[in-house]
Amino acid sequence: MGFERPPYSRQADFGTPEVLSEQQVTLTIDGREVTVPAGTSVMRAVGECGGSIPSLCATDSVKAFGSCRMCLVEIEGMRGTPASCTTPVMPGMVVHTQTDKVARIRKSVMELYISDHPLDCLTCSANNDCELQDTAAEVGLRDVRYGYDGANHMGQADDVSNPYFAFEPDKCIACSRCVRACDEVQGTLALTIEGRGFESKVRAGQAEDTFLSSDCVSCGACVQACPTSALMEKSVMELGKPERSVITTCAYCGVGCTFRAEMKGEQLVRMVPWKDGKANRGHSCVKGRFAWGYANHQDRITKPMIRESVDLPWREVSWEEALSYTATKLNAIKAQHGPRALGGISSSRCTNEETFLVQKLVRAGFGSNNVDTCARVCHSPTGYGLSKTFGTSAGTQDFDSVMDADVVMIIGANPTDGHPVFASRLKRRLRQGAKLIVIDPRRTDIVRSPHIEAAHHLALQPGTNVAVMTAMAHVIVTEGLAAEAFIQERCEIDEYQDWARFVSDERHSPEVLEPVTRVPAAELRAAARLFATGGNGAIYYGLGVTEHSQGSSTVMSIANLAMVTGNIGRRGVGVNPLRGQNNVQGACDMGSFPHELPGYRHISGSAVRELFEADWGVDLDPEPGLRIPNMLDAALDGSFRALYVQGEDILQSDPNTHHVAAGLKAMELVIVHDLFLNETANYAHVFLPGSTFLEKDGTFTNAERRIQLVRKVMEPANGYADWEVTQELAKAIGLGWNYAHPSEIMDEIARLTPTFAGVSFNRLEAEGSLQWPVNEANPDGSPIMHVNGFVRGKGKFIVTDYVPTDEKTGPRYPLLLTTGRVLSQYNVGAQTRRTANNVWHQEDVLEIHPLDAENRGVKDGDWVRLASRTGETTLRADVTDRVAPGVVYTTFHHPATQANVVTTEYSDWATNCPEYKVTAVQVLPSNGPTEWQESYASWSEKSRRVARVPAE
């Protein structure tokens, strides 16, 4: 039998972007009739009917530019030879793409290009993956009449400053695809074409800049757009052309970009954003595109390890020994102290199937409901607030919806850093003219960036979100801007009237609240009016909303605001939490919270519980379990003794590090299941090595509720995918689990969870992705929610009032610290710190306003001591007016800084989501690391020792 190997090839390029239009146009191309949406280019129409026109300056990620003259065609009734990339189709058009005349022109254009291009194809990194080569072949170039000795651009210096890609100007054909990609796709505008005609040259930033020193954020869009090797991934230069590719999903953030993992055997060569990915539409950021080197970093642990106590060195053991040791201990603790002494933490980085298994292990195996997840520390208030008001614990829109928004309100989110690919789409919409309102204590990049200027930036005092939201509601209601018809039809009227009366009270007016919020009343009024009257209003929010003592109240007040303005249930509007980690939505959906089973159903409901009991063949505890902070409290009083932590580093990510450390130390058995010996592992007794997203099958659910497949591209270096590790542990404690593949776990999820009823791996393979709910009413999923009424029936206004946090500034701690993240690093940085991304962010720094800095004698770059009542740390100061006087800001990506040493145990009243965004601190000059940093560093080194076993 013949066997045809699918050759590696680039994803199809239609030359110009897809056009969405109701109107269809039919034309004839080389005798073939084709129908395409009106506004489509002739070039794209040719591509869609299976043809191909040689082209150099066109690619379907950017608008056509018409500069290379390679794509000329003849059109009956039109004079000359129009460029097919810039000519829109017309009804009845008759196009000839391959005539003698165009062939001649194309060939001579090609000759000009080639006469100024190095002919080292055989040793070029783009060899066999180069559009210049392809085009030369297409036009049948055989000879270059001009010779190669004329004026040319060879011998220019390469720019290798970016850690992930190189710029070789000799190979540049000045097609400007990179420039347009940076402008249109990414929206950073870092590149320009300098000079004209033959002198044209691509430049990053200003004259003296390199790619690294320019504004470039290393998203890779230009590299992707470049037709030659002028912009090329260094990994391809080193490893050569990939031989196969697998479509998978990024494991970094909640945008959930789809990538093609391009492989050479078991070696990943590059990650290329997949154009058909519905979350990213062919775009990416530096993390997913380039920062995958951690997957086989030397620090990765691939063998299980155990130790009797945390001051002993680790001992490498076999999987059998590690599992039976762990199981024996778990069973003994359970026998002696009861099931409620055991618990687990699932990971928002792991797949849905893996988190489902962790909660199943805890509920069905340990016999308690002590399961929690890191969403506790980020978006738990979202689940609480949105379920109370709308009836679902998730955002209402898909990302595409932003293209129909007229007014975008961003609250406590920094999308250009936290959710870069969504931010690029948002920026495109803003450049088209949508208005922007930013509510954030800090002047984030989106407030003012190329061609974008927020209409209003409300730089509120940290901790006063609810006051600002209530004041906006006050303006809308008292000025008669409420969407009465929407409210009458869709919301509970009694509740609305109570709420409207409450917010109308004079004490909620922007003027009265101004001393509290520090937002000028006139500015707040203007913003509220704009939101209520500016057309489709969409709200996007992040951790600056949730990580407060009133996180849940703020989420509810946001929901109120969306309802009172009628901005729910169609495209262009909605309430959209920007989720942090890749699968934080999924981890919540999968029942990782101690009070609810998968699908957000309370454990006390006997019908639901019985469903699971019947399926799993066990009795379940009907009482809610402990949340992470309560687990730590309970550990200190001895009633909680064993913890299984999958893929989370609670010591670094949870507030008040000292408290976390004390809680972990008090436990008898801490099992850490992770890629690296993370900070939590310093207090662990068992280390089970984990696998990366490249090494397993499963699904992630992004911030749009979009369930997407993660596909295994290489074998797990540790021997098992994470779901298999959990399964082995379950078997070891006596559960008869027998899943052969994650698809079987998804089948179980679908069987037990109505919102997932229609989800299966086969369905996902066929559709690419599905947005839950996928059920009988919505068999193809639900891009937009609450279209025909709210999930809970009628929308419910809930009265929320500003309750000041108990974390107060005073003479000892006069400044307010708020925390956040940067683009190049991810969460606690366990992965990104182990990549070249460190060139952009080597350490956490403290942003401080010039006035506060001067008062303290602190200069830019000085070491400062940052102290709160819980602890202190040192880091370098960045003196900037991005923050207001009285406010300081830092990130928590590096363990050496341990920013959470200073954060407090205050938390959201409803969910205990920690109050990371407000800590009263003092900042003083300092000479270097604090005692805690030093003693922690030495302790941490000590507790990471692995005993060297002499070879037998």
Partner: protein, 65 residues
């Protein structure tokens, strides 16, 4: 369990629900404790002298037992 912390938590819940009116807030606080507190937390607050609780929180805890 650290009773001071539990008292603080119960009071914080009550303070945030208070704007909904006393009767409603008591009802909601009670439901909140039932829905989200682990048995040992409920037992600990029931066993405490409840003197540090705000009126709404106290009324809710009284009804929890």
């Amino acid at each position: 369990m650290d009773i001071e912390r539990l008292t603080y938590m119960a009071n914080q819940i009550a303070r945030n629900l208070a704007p909904q009116g006393e009767a409603q807030a008591t009802e909601l606080t009670l439901q909140h404790l039932k829905d989200f507190w682990d048995p040992r937390m409920k037992a600990a607050i029931l066993a405490s002298d409840r003197s540090g609780l705000l009126p709404i929180a106290r009324a809710a805890v009284d009804r929890l037992g």
